[in-house]
Amino acid sequence: MQIQLNGEARTLEADASVAQLVELLGLTGRRIAVEVNEEIVPRSVHDETRLAADDRVEIVHAIGGG
């Protein structure tokens, strides 16, 4: 299936979970936050949250700024 990840198309195994996507990206354990279709997906439910085709996923982190 295809999802939008940080604004870009990405192909993912059907039924993948948020936790699997995070792991695939090498971000497990990193300080990030995940939003799917403009709703926060709390870290505590990354495992059980399944992604669907055309989901819009945002993964963010802290960077320098004033």
């Binding site: 990206l25 936050a33 939003e35 993964i59 963010v60 982190h61 320098g64």
Partner: protein, 265 residues
Amino acid sequence: MTDFFQDAPLRVAGREFASRLLVGTGKYRDMDETGEAIAASGTEVVTFAVRRTNLGQDAAAANLLDVVPPERYTLLPNTAGCYTAQDAVRTCRLARELLDGHNLVKLEVLGDDTTLYPNVVETLAAAETLINDGFDVMVYTSDDPIVARELERLGCCAVMPLGSLIGSGHGIQNPHNIRLIIEQASVPVLVDAGIGAASEAAQAMELGCDGVLMNSAIAHARQPVRMAGAMRRAVEAGREAFLAGRMPRRGGAEASSPLAGRINA
């Protein structure tokens, strides 16, 4: 004789800080310089931005939160780069997730990318939504006293008017407005944006501000770590001077030495 007099801590939304200097984390050469400058500033509150993670980047690359650890500093995620209330609210919710439920944020909603001037209409809307959602909102705004009053009425925990445009280093362009905002406010007032020189940071504190937030003045100094120390002392000096109370201005001269006993009398 003591060099230090008692001062109340800066209180923001139930949190207390001995330092009245708040700093940003942008524009530094690298993470090492960021960490060193922030340590030298003596700050306890550090603001940062929230951005999309660069995917495919080296996962071991230094992370900002490694040099400004949440265990040591109070982190203040900001909504820099947001031009609508909706984007600002989304960013704050992401930040809260990022920091495991930490609810203190710096709200800024900008009007355009040449002035970075606050869009107060969107700022007011975002503040209301965020406060209803349980956030403690420190709000960046213009130096308009009426807008500042409205933001406080909505429940913002600190009002942060600009001294001048973000990153401009033009200092405090309208000290009279800053004073008006301070006089009417019952929440902390911090000058956020525009400070370029240590004297301007001191000026903000002498006006009676509760604190100062700056980034470029330190990060873009020739020696940022050294400037961070200068700003720390400037904010302390300005605060002490405000509490001490300056002498009255006079129309003419007034000799400091007595007139009596002069040899030519």
